[in-house]
Symmetry: C2
Subunit: 320 residues, 2 copies
């Protein structure tokens, strides 16, 4: 769709000069479509996610956090595929032209796109209820992507970072929980400014048999790996990387079914066990935790006093 003069000016003012891609852009914004070169030997990895005000972020979320999160959740999909970010398209729907809001949004989008070296090459703007739709493209070496269906019996199940912080942050905002003062900031940060785990791209390409990003909660998301790999799993409650509040209050639901963590969950063959400690020594900001193993069929949570069957647990339901 072409754009009106005003829309074009808007895009030009607020959305030019974002992060640069390490991969060739032939024709960028300002035409009917963008044109890029996919280097020989690479495959193209594509994903889209739409974030809607009041659904995917609380209505009072700042423009800066919305911009970061919209791009980060898409980058997280590329991370889960073991892909390197290349380009993105932005479709933004705004209730009104708000210069202050747009300035803040675009400054944050530029910062995050610079950080992850992904380049905005096109998009459109519409008027309507606030929502942001971003489509990301990344690249992998030929057939070196990581999907959900390669988990094998005995593989170790790993997750990055801490689980449950984003869901705790949301519960805090909605006054459903009282948090210790020291946890408020990290939990809100986890909710509003998730870190796509792109530092793991090479690691996943080398070692992972399957991977997924955690957007809807560990139990439901890991189930996608199990379904597609036709396997089961055992998760150990004691092994889950959670903060002291969750551990001491036994509020494991935040980690098991809480959404929006955007950490990665992946499996590696057991012979690669040693690489976990090696990684953790070098990458304290993106710690890996071994939380369980791939089994033949049952999907189970081993707790302190009992083993729970996870087959009937439900993650967050978009259409209930």
């Amino acid at each position: 769709m072409t754009v009106s003069q005003n829309e074009f000016s808007l895009i030009e003012r607020f959305f030019f000069n974002t992060g640069k891609s390490p991969f060739p852009v032939v024709l960028s914004q300002g035409d009917d479509a963008a044109v890029v070169d996919v280097p020989v030997g690479k495959q193209l990895v594509m994903s889209v996610d739409t974030l809607i005000s009041g659904v995917h972020f609380p209505e009072l979320t700042s423009a800066s956090d919305i911009a970061h999160k919209s791009l980060a959740v898409n980058l997280s999909d590329l991370a889960a595929m073991g892909a390197t970010p290349a380009w993105f398209l932005l479709s933004i729907t705004l209730p009104k032209f708000d210069e202050v809001w747009l300035s803040e949004f675009s400054a944050s989008l530029k910062k995050t796109s610079n950080q992850y070296q992904i380049e905005l090459i096109g998009g459109d703007t519409c008027r309507g209820p606030l929502s942001i739709s971003i489509q990301v493209s990344g690249l992998v070496d030929q057939n070196n992507y990581v999907n959900r269906k390669g988990a094998q019996l005995g593989d170790l199940i790993l997750v990055t970072g801490e689980l449950g912080n984003a869901a705790l942050g949301l519960a805090y905002l909605q006054q459903r929980v009282i948090l210790p003062a020291t946890l408020i900031e990290p939990c809100l940060e986890a909710l509003n400014r998730p870190s796509p785990r792109l530092e793991l791209t090479g690691f996943l390409g080398s070692y992972a048999s399957a991977a997924i990003d955690l957007s809807d909660g560990l139990v439901g998301d890991l189930r996608h790996i199990l379904d597609q790999s036709q396997k089961g799993a055992t998760i150990r409650l004691d092994s889950l990387p959670v903060n002291d509040f969750i551990r001491s209050q036994q509020e494991y639901n935040y980690a098991l079914t809480g959404g929006d963590d955007f950490e990665l969950c992946f499996t590696i063959p057991t012979q690669h066990k040693d690489v976990i400690d090696e990684w953790n020594d070098k990458n304290p900001q993106c710690k890996l935790t071994h939380i369980g193993e791939i089994t033949d069929r049952n999907y189970e949570l081993v707790g302190n006093h009992k083993t729970e069957n996870l087959n009937n647990w439900q993650g967050y339901q978009h259409f209930e």
Copy 2:
């Protein structure tokens, strides 16, 4: 973003088995992202358009027409680049789970994607005010895309089809105009079921110096070509391809500033003039009309009794 079990079932039920791409799909729906192969020697052309209920289509538009139009307006962008469709991603936001609506939407999406051989490889579903965001990818031979900035002095300006029908259809629905009975159906068809002019892909690649698709009205859209090519243009009112109602009532505004035609406007060097008649003889369903020429600087409309300056005309404004 991963999807819940329910969302996955929804996608599986309604959005699998769409049209097939002539280009290789390595990994389709059901993972964090899709993986495709871009053949060596091809460049990737990408565009995104979001359609919002009440903005881009009247609220009473059928699910079938919404599906067709959402894909068609994106395919129209590929057509304007001289690209061949390959794959698309769909992000659909629905106020509620409505099985009848979804069945109708998906049947129409399948039909249109089959017709244009474009394959749905991923997407997401959200709950919220009805909107459809589609991202299309197409391919062109290396550096054989058509952009907006190549128009040269003396080039002929051509458009496809008839202009103004979609805007007339909208005016009819909004009871702003009374149409002759024979025009009602074609004007509503133009509004709700535009035809992306992909049959011109090879022609544009061979002859066009610049191209754009007409989404916001001829005057504003052609201006983008003129701005980027740093040229002027003369359009002749008499030459515009319009229906009898517009001609007899002198209601040229529908054709000049009415949106949503999704015809193509493009320029060709004057030495290729003969190919117009050749094309029209063979393609009566996609007639080309020569409406004017590229000039050195002024942007003018030559009418019966006067010449009007078009520099200050405004197309449809998304943010007024």
